[in-house]
């Protein structure tokens, strides 16, 4: 945002948000992605933020990734970070079942309540794949939830860095595929619904009156 005044050194700026119960490894996942290292980090207080520049699909992207604290006490504050996010990463711990069930019971509702972006891409991420022996949530369950909620799904490990890059990449590719999100991400681009869409005769599909 502060770079908008200069020559932008990127094609698109996307805002991503990470949510999920405390201790599922959101910050570790983010660190694993941004600095390619793994640490057992101390719990996030409120919110953390990282920027990563990536090249995806031939585009230079600036990813502003917001990492929120899972503790419910911070939840009222984190609501503001949903604003304008093009992608939301919902993280759970494959070894702890409650972190998975809370996604549908708590976090999905938070998204509905606070997300201002109708087209925003959601991604379900099962972390701590390295602790396969303690697994409490099957991959099938994850897939089913993702299907019901209409989001992407991947299992990964912040520790072994398995699927970490893919997780972010896939999300970003999906955002790049969504014109309305793309329009937001690029500065100065403007959409005109009156010019874009010719009048449609089918009442149920036309989204313009």
């Amino acid at each position: 945002m502060d770079s908008s005044s200069n020559q932008p050194e990127f094609d698109y700026l996307f805002k991503l948000l990470m949510i999920g119960d405390s201790g599922v490894g959101k910050s570790s996942l983010l660190l694993s992605f941004t600095s390619e290292t793994f640490e057992d980090l101390s719990p996030t207080i409120g919110v953390d933020f990282k920027v990563k520049y990536v090249n995806v699909g031939g585009k230079k992207l600036k990813l502003a990734i917001w990492d929120t604290a899972g503790q419910e006490r911070f939840r009222t504050l984190t609501s503001s970070y949903y604003r304008g996010a093009q992608g939301i990463i919902m993280v759970y711990d494959v070894t702890r079942r409650d972190t998975f069930t809370n996604l549908s019971q708590v976090w999905a509702k938070e998204i509905d309540l606070y997300s201002t972006n109708q087209d925003c891409i959601k991604m379900l991420v099962g972390n701590k794949l390295d602790k396969e022996s303690n697994r409490a949530v099957t991959k099938k369950e994850g897939i089913n939830f993702a299907r019901d909620y209409g989001c992407l799904f991947i299992e990964c490990s912040a520790k072994t860095r398995v699927n970490v890059q893919q997780c972010f990449e896939e999300l970003v590719l999906k955002i790049l595929d969504t014109p309305s999100l793309l329009a937001e991400g690029s500065k100065g681009m403007k959409t005109n619904i009156f010019k874009e869409r010719p009048p449609q005769t089918d009442a149920s599909t036309s989204s313009c009156c």
């Binding site: 945002m1 502060d2 119960d21 405390s22 201790g23 910050s27 057992d40 980090l41 101390s42 719990p43 996030t44 207080i45 409120g46 919110v47 953390d48 933020f49 990282k50 920027v51 502003a64 604290a69 899972g70 503790q71 419910e72 006490r73 911070f74 939840r75 009222t76 504050l77 609501s79 503001s80 970070y81 604003r83 702890r96 409650d98 069930t101 809370n102 019971q105 708590v106 509702k109 606070y114 201002t116 109708q118 309305s180 403007k190 959409t191 005109n192 619904i193 009156f194 010719p198 009048p199 449609q200 005769t201 009442a203 149920s204 036309s206 989204s207 313009c208 009156c209």
Partner: protein, 962 residues
């Protein structure tokens, strides 16, 4: 060579008359050869009213006159089969019972009118030409003045038979007997009676079918003048003083608070059809005339729509859309000035702008009335859910019932929404808001609790913030006056006086200082807590019971407790863990969030790493980090505040206890099984398994953990004694500063968004039954609004920009929806007892309008009239019949009834009858085609009669043997 050709011509085509015939013949041959399919490709045009009737035309010259010959033909179509009363029939088809036909007439441009001899000459020319190419097409020629609709025609039937057509019209002075079915029947009989002299004896088998059209009386015939008079006054902002006005049709529609719409449905026409029956005597006809239309076989209804409805270009229909147009004009003008005050003061130096005249500020009395409605009325808590559509939130406005949304709606109708009137009203509005602030009066129509809804516009967020600040200021003042500063008095009082568990309610009443602390806890209590032991509600789990037990031990020092946490015990002291009352997270409007985000982003990438090494730094270095952690500081403050409150509520607690409460996942129980059982039965045995066994998670227990550092520094202080996270005085003043210095275009942008949303929310409340299309349409308009209004939030608007154009288009879209809704609402209330009909008619109207609603482009109007008809089912007939109210004495003396078949005292406005006689004609006439015609019954005589109470038109077709 050339001579030879002319010579040849002279021999074959003797006269210009013959040339004319051969010209016609050539055209007809071409048409016949082409056939319907090729003609379509060659540009035959479909007649507007019909689904399958097309025509081609060709111009011909004879003598000095030019003629136009038209060929009407049908493309087989699966729908329009059936009844003779098919609504898509061409006049000629109806009159003469033909399918395809030719019409030849002088070019209308030449203004030639055919007299009878000339018409028959023309007719015979075509007839000759047609027989030359052995075509069996009927041909008709208009005679006399076109308004008379008189025709003659002829058809070669392919045998010795010829059918002749004749139609004429009687404009005035219709003989009385021809007004009655009996007389018309006899007229028909007389056409062939010459062949059978004993008319009275012979019984003719006459086929008869009839179609009657009735029209309801206009709904508001008598008050038309008055009704149109009041509307302009209203739009100038005086909806209050129209007491002389009688009840409008839309009085209970949601928009009637702001304007009165013209009833789009002026009335209905009902068509009653008697299907074909055999009539054998004139007596029978007389009986038929006494039939009530209730006995008709088929009822068909269609609405008569108001002229204004179909007139898309006519923008003077008052409604939300019309006012939104004005508001957008104001937005366009708002870039002219720095402050809203500039628009008001501009009156002293009248510029060259001649628009100034229209920019009048309504008199102070009107301003006062609006302010009174905004600030004095409806002090009760607004019901924000009212009128809210599930899509409302996508439009960045304000809830319909909120202060700012109401301000926007009032400005729409205030001084016809010119920029100066808006400015004047806004200044008074802000003055009034400041008064509330200075006097600590609750802000009306704004909730003083909850969190700030970031999906609303900034002004609404600011007002929400102000409402909360005022509320907190009041609490602080009350605390000050009552000299109740500390909580340790309050808590025991609660427990003594209110053992029933309504603890939270009563504490709000008694100790306002505790109020918001309590509220802040409520979001933490819902059932969706973590699945640990904390799932048990912190309040309701019989707090008194255990609380009293605890009181004995540490009553004197425990402060700010909100009750115990399930069965959780402290680690280092055999006591129950208490939930502290905590401070609410500070409220922030979106601009404050934005500031924070930018700060985090500016320093962001590094702060987490640094903060993890927070300990062991010098004073100087840590202050640098504090600066860098500008945003994280807030969260840290909250954490610290929670820790202080926890310490105060649990004097003997250690850091691990806090973690167990605050971040339960960072506490690992040694015996999870045991924990679970105690979770289910929390009060069975409170001493069971004390002290709890377990340890902090790896990440919490690491050396130099920042949480522990904050814990160590946090003093034990109940929330009520802590420095508030939100300073109401400062934040409230900031809000007022924002409102008072708001740039005109920023105000207008938010007004546009909010007014759009509020208009849609208002319209959304209209009851229209359950019209699916309407519901979809309304859902869509929010989405459309959201996407058009989005650029407004980016704040890069300038006067006359493209966005203004888009906004105007959006108004047109809104206008469509508004019109549709008035139609839907009007239909709904007229067909309350027959919802299927209102749905069907609305659906027709909707589909009729659909092609025109797509683009939202300006001034596009196609000349089409809505004429879709709906069949009325038997059980719906009473509803329709009730619409034909018995005429009042006043209405009935105006008219002398002359036709029969009255419906509740209404005579048909239009009557159509077809008589026919069919014959199997004896075989010997048909030597050429014996087998074909033998089986066929042909209409030897057919008469079509249509008329109103003062005119009559008769068309006759007769088959004769020449």
């Amino acid at each position: 060579m050339l001579m030879q050709v002319e010579h040849f011509d002279d021999f074959t085509l003797a006269s210009s008359w013959e040339r004319f015939i051969s010209e016609i013949e050539a055209v007809c041959r071409q048409w016949m050869a082409d056939g319907p399919k090729n003609l379509l490709e060659k540009g035959a045009v479909r007649l507007e009213f019909s689904k399958n009737l097309y025509k081609v035309k060709s111009e011909l010259k004879y003598a000095s006159k030019s003629y136009c010959m038209e060929y009407y033909f049908e493309i087989p179509h699966n729908e329009s089969k059936g009844s003779v009363w098919n609504f898509s029939l061409h006049e000629m088809q109806l009159c003469f019972g033909v399918k395809e036909f030719l019409v030849i007439a002088p070019q209308s441009a030449s203004g030639v009118v055919l007299d009878a001899p000339e018409a028959s000459k023309l007719l015979s020319a075509v007839a000759i030409a047609l027989s030359n190419c052995s075509s069996l097409l009927p041909v008709v020629v208009p005679v006399h003045d076109p308004s008379r609709k008189a025709y003659i025609g002829i058809q070669n039937m392919g045998t010795v038979f010829t059918r002749r057509f004749e139609a004429d019209h009687m404009g005035t002075q219709v003989p009385v007997q021809l007004m009655h079915l009996e007389g018309l029947y006899e007229l028909f009989i007389s056409k062939f009676a010459y062949s059978t002299l004993d008319l009275s004896v012979h019984l003719f088998k006459v086929h008869f079918t009839m179609k009657l059209t009735y029209r309801t009386l206009p709904y508001d015939e008598d008050d038309d003048v008055q009704g149109t008079d009041t509307e302009p006054t209203e739009s100038e902002g005086n909806p209050g003083d129209d007491t002389h006005n009688k009840a409008q049709w839309d009085d209970d529609c949601p928009w009637s608070e702001w304007y009165s719409a013209e009833d789009p449905i002026k009335g209905f026409e009902l068509i009653a059809i008697w299907s074909e029956k055999m009539v054998e005597s004139s007596l029978q006809m007389a009986e038929l005339e006494n039939d009530s239309p209730r006995e008709a076989d088929k009822w068909i209804i269609f609405p008569q729509l108001s002229q204004n409805l179909s007139d898309a270009s006519n923008g003077n229909q008052v409604g939300f859309a019309s006012q939104m147009h004005l508001l957008i004009d104001a937005l366009d003008m708002s870039f002219e000035a720095q402050f809203m005050e500039d628009f008001v003061s501009a009156v002293e130096n009248p510029g060259p702008d001649n628009l100034k005249a229209s920019r009048v500020i309504p008199p102070p009395s009107v301003v006062d009335r609006v302010l009174k409605e905004l600030f004095r009325e409806g002090m009760r808590d607004p019901n924000f859910a009212k009128g809210e559509h599930k899509n409302s939130r996508v439009v960045k406005g304000a809830p319909l019932e909120s202060l700012f949304a109401q301000f926007c709606l009032h400005s729409l109708w205030f001084g016809n929404c010119n920029i100066r009137a808006i400015a004047a009203l806004w200044i008074e509005f802000v003055r009034e808001v400041r008064w509330c602030w200075e006097e600590s009066q609750p802000l009306p129509k704004m909730p003083a609790n909850g969190s700030i809804d970031l999906s609303t516009c900034l002004i609404n967020q600011k007002l929400q913030m102000l409402a909360v600040c005022i509320e907190r200021k009041r609490e602080l003042n009350e605390d000050f006056e009552d000299c109740i500063g500390s909580m340790d008095q309050a808590s025991p009082r609660v427990k003594e006086d209110d053992p029933v568990g309504e603890e939270s309610d009563s504490s709000i009443m008694w100790t306002p200082g505790e109020d918001f602390d309590r509220k802040c806890d409520s979001p933490m209590t819902p059932e969706n807590l973590h699945g640990s032991g904390m799932t048990v509600s912190r309040f309701n789990n019989e707090p008194e019971d255990v609380g009293l037990a605890d009181l004995k031990a540490s009553d004197c020092i425990r402060r700010g407790s909100a009750g115990v946490v399930g069965s959780m015990m402290l680690l280092k002291s055999n006591q129950r863990m208490h939930t502290p009352l905590t401070q609410d997270a500070p409220l922030m409007t979106e601009d404050m969030h934005e500031e924070r985000l930018q700060a985090v982003e500016a320093f962001g990438n590094s702060f987490a790493n640094i903060s993890s090494e927070f300990t062991g730094l010098t004073e100087e270095a840590s202050s640098v980090i504090l600066l860098q952690n500008f945003s994280a500081q807030l969260e840290r403050d909250i954490l610290s505040s929670d820790m202080s409150a926890f310490k105060a509520a649990n004097p003997d607690a250690v850091f691990e206890d806090f973690i167990r409460w605050h971040s339960p996942k960072d506490w690992e129980d040694d015996d999870a099984q045991e924990n679970k059982s105690s979770e289910k039965l929390p009060i069975v045995d409170s001493d069971h398994g004390w002290p709890p066994q377990g340890q902090l998670s790896q990440r919490m227990s690491e050396h130099g953990n920042i949480w522990r550092n904050i814990w160590n520094d946090a003093p034990a202080l109940p929330a009520s004694e802590q420095k508030p996270l939100l300073d109401p005085n400062r934040e409230g003043e900031k809000v007022l500063h924002y409102l008072e210095t708001l740039r005109p275009h920023q105000l207008l942008e938010q007004m546009v968004c909010t007014a759009f949303r509020a208009s849609a929310d208002t319209l959304n409340q209209t009851s229209h039954g359950s019209l699916g299309q309407m519901a979809i349409k309304i859902g869509q308009i929010y989405v459309t609004m959201a996407s058009v209004l989005k650029p407004l939030q980016v704040d890069r608007l300038s006067a006359g920009s493209e966005i203004i154009e888009d906004l105007r288009r959006l108004c047109v879209v809104l206008e469509h929806v508004e019109k549709l809704l008035t139609v839907a609402a009007s239909l709904h209330r007229k067909f309350l007892q027959a919802p299927r009909l209102s749905e069907a008619i609305f659906s027709d109207y909707y589909n009729f309008n659909l092609p025109r609603m797509g683009t939202g482009s300006l001034g596009e109007s196609t000349e089409m009239t809505f004429n879709k008809k709906q069949q009325v089912r038997i059980h719906e007939r009473p509803v329709v019949s009730n619409m034909f109210t018995h005429p009042t004495a006043n209405q009935s003396w105006r008219k002398v009834l002359s036709m029969g078949n009255l419906l509740n005292g209404h005579e048909p406005i239009f009557r159509e009858i077809i008589f026919s006689i069919r014959d199997r004609v004896s075989g010997n006439h048909y030597a050429a085609y014996p087998s074909r015609v033998y089986q066929e019954e042909i209409e030897t005589y057919r008469m079509y009669i249509c008329g109103t109470s003062n005119d009559l038109r008769v068309a006759l077709s007769v088959v004769s043997c020449d």
